[in-house]
Point group: C2
Chain length 295, copies 2
């Protein structure tokens, strides 16, 4: 029969499309990919809505047990549910390739994802440059390759969408080393944490720049505590929160529960600024720091 890869959208069980729901209801087994993103409702809400059990598929299962997921999918329909759009994450590409190798037809059903829903803050989608990911820093691992991409976007006057890290079903190094399948509680990066990491990297890059240039020149910063940015939480949900402000202001703004996203605007068209200003913590600091193109 068919492997349906169904996008669930962003917030709750009713964000699935009618086409997607019909497909799910036709399936004998339903898997939920639950490690690259999450809905804001528990899987029991999905099960009640579909009238069927839902199997949570963790990374291990998707990456190493594709055959289990695809078992007898040549005879019955199987659904693989993905938060957002099916093509938002790469991790299940293998599953689709494996299905095709086994002559199992694959049908993907699109839905909203943060990549297009981010338009809700008022910054136009066609004014965004490349999207970046910000991962949790650890004591010894503080990767900052995103910095150069933000620089490229800002040099072109473009906005940058920052996807914030989520850690679901991760093992501690100790448990991993000892082969103990004990998992840490899930962690979702907040806007506050993202801003903190971004400002740390900016400071480090400037220090490196000064050092490279013998400490004599001033180094141009890409952003600063005064740069206007936008934090978003639970996009698409009833309690969606959008706050615009300086990075300093966003360091302590309260966004509530996950998931959070972050945008660093480039040069704003005045219509973009007009909408974004309605979400400002403080209109005075917004007007003083926003880079708005002339009418």
């Amino acid at each position: 029969m068919t492997l349906f890869v169904v996008g669930l959208g962003l917030a709750d069980e009713r964000d699935i499309t009618v086409k997607g729901l019909d497909a799910v209801k036709s399936c004998e087994r339903i898997y939920l990919e639950a490690y690259t993103s999450i809905l804001m409702v528990p899987k029991e809400r999905l099960e009640a809505f579909y009238g069927k059990p839902v199997i949570v598929a963790d990374r291990e299962m998707v990456e190493s047990e594709a055959d289990v997921i695809l078992h007898n999918a040549d005879k019955v329909n199987v659904a693989f549910l993905v938060v957002g759009d099916p093509f938002g994450a790469t991790t299940h590409t293998d599953l689709v390739v494996r299905a095709k190798e086994n002559s199992i037809p694959v049908v993907s059903i699109h839905n909203a994802s943060i990549m297009n829903a981010i338009g809700c803050c008022g910054l136009q989608l066609y004014n965004y440059g490349q999207t970046i990911s910000i991962v949790f820093f650890t004591e010894n691992w503080r990767p900052d390759s995103f910095y150069d991409k933000i620089k490229q976007n800002r040099d072109l006057g473009l906005h940058t969408l920052c996807l914030l890290d989520i850690k679901v079903k991760e093992q501690s190094l100790e448990n991993m080393a000892r082969g103990r399948k004990i998992y840490e509680p899930p962690r979702y990066m907040t806007v506050n944490q993202a801003v903190e990491q971004l400002l740390e990297i900016e400071e480090k890059r400037q220090q490196n720049g000064k050092w490279l240039r013998g400490g004599m020149e001033s180094v141009r910063s890409i952003y600063s505590p005064n740069t206007i940015a936008v934090g978003l939480a639970r996009v698409g949900a009833e309690d969606q929160t959008i706050i615009a402000g300086t990075m300093q202001e966003l360091l302590t703004a309260d966004f509530g529960g996950p998931l959070h996203s972050f945008v660093i605007p480039g040069n704003m068209h005045f219509l973009e600024a007009d909408i974004l200003r309605t979400y400002a913590v403080n209109r005075e600091t917004f007007n003083a720091n926003a880079v708005v193109l002339e009418h």
Copy 2:
């Protein structure tokens, strides 16, 4: 009550979300924005599905008759349907602003749009730079500002999504001048037309470059008839078509009816190339011309 701005997704009446459908069914009046994009089914299919009449709102109505659309929306629910996601187009921002000025609550319901569904061709969304629009050339108006944006994206190794022009309910210059409300048949730019215009602009830019430099130097092209690109038609529909090939090959490939989209890949990760290759007109020309990063 509420103004619901509801994304319809990409293809047919069943691409609406369950949340969106419930909202539409609660509405006393339903408007369909039908000039920045189109579904692949006529409005009668929507009406049958909703069990309610649908009013087609053209640009004139949305831009100058917002009060008609919002009439008594403080007492009843009104739906404004948008193909794709509500935040894909800017043209109805005014409507939302007007609603808020009149203290009418606005609820937006997200859906897939070409901006995220384009992931279906295998090129990862986070490797795209800014999106461009290609408009129909006329005899005297051949705007090419998109060229510099493609250049910026390609210089960074990024993919470029090209949105192709649609002309719905346009008047000829003569009819406009005479104030006759006679409209031309709708036109939707094909991948073939887009490639033709792109190649024309590249040739013109190179000639200008040679002229500026006294005809002595060779001018670096941004793309050429041998550049690998991707044409897509009716994304999300059952007869969705994806064809990858050189721009020369795509000049004559048959994509069928609207809507069409176009992507110029930057540097491809080998996994991206593996997927895109499955859509190639000709694997030999694909392999000879695709720019694929080393493993």
